[in-house]
């Protein structure tokens, strides 16, 4: 396939390769993600039941309480955090969470171009995401 390269903005520096988990809905880390297993528990969420651990988590932006930043930190300490965060529009809750948890993060990416299961490479120093491999079927976590 022709490699797709998307260019955004650095929020937290870093570099990694991971499997994408893509949502069209905002995520609230407080109340929306189980801090004990990293699964999305928000009702009616398109990623309900999916685990964010080790993923390139792509979603439009965060919402909800600013305590959500601490939830990201806590997930990272338990090794349940996503490997990298890719947002359409960064918001304060996720930005602060990614900084304190030291999770690479970029924003200003058209996340509709990325599909769940794609293998992506994120260079969060330059704000670039490359889709290395497309995958059709959803893969589950753990």
């Amino acid at each position: 396939m022709r490699q797709i390269i998307l260019k955004g903005r650095t929020i937290v520096e870093g570099h990694c390769k991971a499997e994408a988990l893509v949502s069209t809905k905002p995520i609230s880390f407080l109340g929306g993600v189980d801090p004990d297993n990293g699964k999305i528990i928000e009702k009616n969420h398109d990623l309900h039941g999916e685990c964010i651990k080790g993923k390139a988590l792509c979603f439009p932006h965060g919402h909800g309480s600013t305590v959500g930043s601490y939830v990201l930190y806590s997930l990272a300490k338990k090794k349940l955090a996503p490997k990298v965060i890719v947002n359409q529009t960064a918001d304060p809750v996720v930005v602060v969470g990614a900084i304190i948890a030291d999770i690479p993060m970029i924003d200003q990416i058209d996340i509709r171009q990325i599909k769940t299961g794609d293998t992506v490479e994120v260079d969060a120093y330059t704000g670039v995401i490359k889709i290395l491999k497309r995958k059709e079927n959803k893969s589950s976590c753990i």
């Binding site: 937290v12 600013t66 305590v67 601490y70 930190y73 930005v95 900084i99 304190i100």
Partner: protein, 390 residues
């Protein structure tokens, strides 16, 4: 964003991890909102203190920050915790008290004043025109609108970072051009009590979103009534400030009006309970002022609280200590003046509270979800009538 040499050194980690992480938070947020530099703040006020709302996630972060020599550079106050140690603390299990205490210990280690109130402006009024970094939305609206000090609506972590750096990025409400009113609200009915001011806030918050209104029709409103209005505006909206006593009118300005019926419907919507008798009568969201405590004392004087009813009045320790014999009079009637806690972030479910009557629109709005409680929303006098034996 422009950083001074000293700020750059902090950003690069020369002053340790705690300072570096806090500087990173401020710089990234500043960039997000197109700030050009950091400005010094007079004080910071941090939310996210109650173990009930925080859960276990932040404890470790606060501990790491405190151990990495995170120290506040400016006067820094704290929002309420999840119980008061003297009365409710005794009814709660050890592990809850210990977890809450640990959070407070970390904040204390970093140099925070144990103010434990959502009304830090009663402890020390910020100077007019000064820049602050305050979380706690009700205090943000109050300070921008009534006290004339300037603050964005911070989140818990960003206010914490600002406290430790002593600065905040210069965007949003820190710029005069962003504090201009952009909508005119004409309230066409006269508000009779503090509960109606709260209801007005709930109604307007949904419509205004993050606009800055001039609100007409609030003649002779007291600061306590405006406190209820501001707290409610921030509950349903992203409103950071309002004007209430200026006559400025621009032809281009959007205009809306509020009729008696809008208010009536909002008041009704804030009560979810059927006719069951409330097990908690709660006054003090936001925390009571001295004036409010004195008024309550006068109204309950010589009367007795119903045996099966809890009657809580929440305020800061600072205000309680200054309220003279009012506290005694309230306690003699069977009420409790509880300090340092907030009912909506407290353990009401654990304590078996299922129905709450309150004069606070903010509490009435949040209690069904945060406390899984039914609510009755009514003005102070009616709340007291419910509390007291006839």
């Amino acid at each position: 964003m422009y950083l001074t040499k000293e700020e750059e050194r902090i950003y690069d980690g020369e002053h340790g991890w705690a300072n570096q992480i806090c500087m990173k938070i401020l710089v990234r947020l500043g960039e997000l909102f197109h700030a050009t530099r950091l400005i010094p703040i007079e004080s910071a006020h941090v939310s996210g203190v109650s173990y009930k709302t925080l859960g276990d996630a932040p404890g470790k972060f606060l501990e790491t920050l405190a151990n990495a020599d995170g120290k506040v550079r400016v006067k820094a106050t704290l929002n309420p915790q999840s119980f008061d140690p003297e009365y409710l603390g005794r009814k709660l299990p050890e592990h809850i008290r210990e977890k809450q205490l640990n959070i407070l210990r970390q904040f204390e280690k970093m140099g925070f004043t144990q103010s434990l109130t959502c009304t830090p402006y009663y402890l020390e009024k910020p100077k007019t025109g000064s820049h602050l970094a305050w979380a706690e939305s009700s205090a943000v609206v109050y300070t921008n609108s009534i006290l004339g000090a300037w603050t964005n609506r911070e989140g818990g972590p960003s206010a914490l970072a600002a406290a430790i750096i002593g600065k905040t990025p210069n965007y949003g409400m820190h710029k005069a051009e962003n504090r201009q009113p952009n909508i005119l609200v004409n309230v066409k009915t006269s508000l009779k009590n503090e509960a109606e001011f709260g209801a007005l806030g709930i109604y307007l918050g949904k419509i205004l979103k993050d606009k800055i209104p001039i609100i007409w029709g609030l003649k002779n409103a007291s600061e306590d009534e405006l406190k209820q209005l501001g707290a409610a505006l921030a509950t349903t909206g992203m409103v950071n400030m309002f004007y209430h006593n200026i006559q400025l009118e621009r032809r281009t300005m959007e205009k809306i009006s509020v009729e008696a019926n809008d208010l009536k419907r909002t008041v009704e919507s804030l009560s979810t309970a059927a006719k069951s008798k409330p097990d908690l009568v709660f006054i003090g969201c936001p925390h009571c002022s001295l004036t409010e405590i004195r008024r309550i004392a006068k109204l309950v004087d010589g009367k007795k609280v119903d045996a099966g009813t809890e009657f809580w009045i929440c305020t800061s320790r600072y205000v309680k200590e200054r309220s003279g014999n009012s506290v005694e009079r309230i306690e003699k009637s069977g009420g409790y003046v509880l300090t340092g806690m907030c009912t909506i972030v407290s353990w009401t479910e654990t304590l078996g509270i299922k129905t709450i009557i309150t004069n606070s629109a903010k509490t009435a709005y949040y209690a069904p979800t945060l406390n899984k409680a039914e609510t009755v929303f009514a003005p102070l006098k009616q709340c007291l009538k419910t509390a007291l034996e006839e």
